[in-house]
């Protein structure tokens, strides 16, 4: 059995290497071009710094706003997708819908929303909301499934309504987890939002793509450096906040 799995795995990988044209010689031949690319990026052209910074601000805005809206929108979905609190007729359809929409990436949503509402940061926000809502809902649901049922019993026994039970028996148990998931999503959304500009959905990605197309590598490298700094700052702030939660 194990041998068969290993054999199938090796065959699959070999076939994939052949089918994608993976070739170490080709890679080696490309090295000079990579070096040339890097050489042309140095020194970065700091004249484009203002527009790179403006793009970075937009990207952070897209991620922040999108994550915030999704964090709230995911709440009801999270509760109906938790086996231990949702009635079965709600739970199964909710899980199916979430799994379906979650398999579509932010960038694909961005293409759809750019077509729907036009170019700019707004379709980017919508794309972040669409993906993050379903992915947070899944995380929320799993957090709810892991709670201690004791307080839920106790609140139920007081004669509380179902919504009161969720608010007093469930929410206090999962809130720190929820906040930590939201921050984690914010970090990944910053990264996802950097490429949204490639498809016209606003932010720093627009500048990166523009300068690359213009073969202005010195300008592109400034944008790249700003992107790296932005991601590192957001990650740093976010992970510090998360440490406080746990």
């Amino acid at each position: 059995m194990r041998r068969a799995v290993v054999f199938v795995g090796i065959v699959a990988l070999a076939w994939a290497a052949w089918d994608t044209g993976a070739d170490p010689v080709r890679l080696a031949r490309g090295v000079p071009w990579v070096l040339d690319f890097i050489r042309r990026m140095i020194p970065p052209d700091l004249r484009v710094l203002p527009s790179a910074l403006a793009g970075a601000v937009t990207t952070v805005e897209i991620a922040l706003l999108g994550t915030a809206v999704a964090a709230v929108a995911a709440l009801p979905l999270g509760f109906v997708s938790a086996r231990n609190v949702a009635p079965a007729p709600l739970f199964y359809p909710a899980r199916a819908v979430l799994n379906f929409f979650r398999s579509v990436d932010t960038l694909v949503y961005a293409l759809v929303f750019v077509a729907a509402v036009g170019l700019g940061p707004f379709p980017g926000v919508l794309a972040v909301v669409a993906y993050t809502t379903t992915s947070l809902a899944k995380l929320y649901g799993e957090a709810i499934e892991g709670i201690d049922p004791g307080p839920v019993d106790a609140i139920t026994a007081t004669g509380a309504t179902r919504v009161q039970v969720l608010r007093f028996g469930v929410l206090p148990q999962v809130l720190p987890l929820f906040l930590s998931y939201i921050l984690y999503r914010l970090e990944t959304n910053i990264r996802a939002a950097t490429v949204l500009g490639f498809v016209g959905a606003g932010g720093i990605g627009f500048y990166l793509q523009t300068y690359l197309r213009m073969i202005d590598y010195a300008a592109a490298s400034t944008v790249l450096l700003v992107t790296v700094a932005m991601v590192m700052i957001v990650d740093g702030v976010s992970s510090r906040l998360r440490d406080r939660l746990v």
Binding site: G150, A154, A157, T158, A160, R167
Partner: protein
């Protein structure tokens, strides 16, 4: 006060936890349910307020049928049935006062309660209940910073805040150090005597049951094996309740 007839509870997995129990508890009684673990004590108590759905039989509390009640009606009846759990079941991250206020959830306006707003009268009542268990000065502390014995007293205050007619207590001292058993049972007795509240408390400790009960009901394999005053509990009866295992 509590009338149980022909109660059977089959749990998921086809275990019959309660197998045909008839029991009538009168107003003001302090009933201790005795039995080994697995005898059906917990399931019996949880079937009274329908935390566990009875498979067969009827339960009436204060003259009204709990079994068959519609959801809204059931919630209204649950307000009058306080419950104390072996694991306290407090909301650990909430304050002591917030935990006691939870006992008022069935009475207060629903929407304000969801944002944590409770009428002044309910806050006052919650503080009064905390004072009764001797923890008024701990009101603002987070529940999980209290000791086990204190947490159980908060849980009793929460049940009292419901203005209940009945309190069900499921092994309220089993998770505590033995020397705390008396303090918790004393509080329950005081509630019983001073307020005339009906108490049904499950216990696996024979000595504790004898010291506090006005009536003892012995459970064995989901059935009532003994029902009478503590004085009638002979060694033969104890043997019948506990079987071959020694009383723990």
């Amino acid at each position: 006060m509590i009338e149980v007839q022909g109660l059977r509870v089959v749990l998921p997995g086809a275990t019959t936890a309660v197998d045909g129990v008839d029991l009538t508890v009168r107003q003001g009684e302090f009933v201790v349910i005795l039995g080994r673990s697995g005898a059906g004590k917990t399931t019996f108590l949880r079937a009274i307020n329908r935390l566990v759905e009875p498979t067969e039989g009827t339960v009436r509390v204060a003259g009204r049928a709990v079994t068959g009640a519609a959801p809204a009606e059931l919630r209204e009846m649950r307000r009058r049935i306080g419950m104390v759990f072996q694991q306290f079941n407090l909301v650990r991250r909430a304050s002591v006062l917030e935990n006691v206020l939870a006992g008022r959830l069935g009475y207060v306006p629903a929407l304000p309660s969801l944002v944590g707003r409770f009428p002044q009268a309910d806050r006052a009542l919650a503080m009064e209940c905390l004072a009764q268990v001797g923890l008024a000065r701990m009101a603002e502390r987070r529940a999980d910073t209290l000791s086990g014995g204190e947490q159980q007293r908060v849980a009793i205050a929460r049940a009292l805040a419901q203005s209940p007619a009945v309190i069900l207590a499921d092994e309220p001292t089993a998770s505590l150090d033995p020397q705390l058993t008396g303090s918790i049972m004393d509080i329950l007795r005081r509630i019983n005597v001073e307020r005339g509240l009906t108490l049904v408390v499950s216990q696996h400790q024979l000595e504790t049951a004898l010291a506090y009960a006005t009536r003892i009901v012995g459970f064995r394999r989901g059935r009532v094996a003994f029902d009478g005053p503590p004085s009638a509990l002979s060694p033969a009866v104890v043997h019948a309740i506990y079987g071959d295992g020694a009383p723990a």
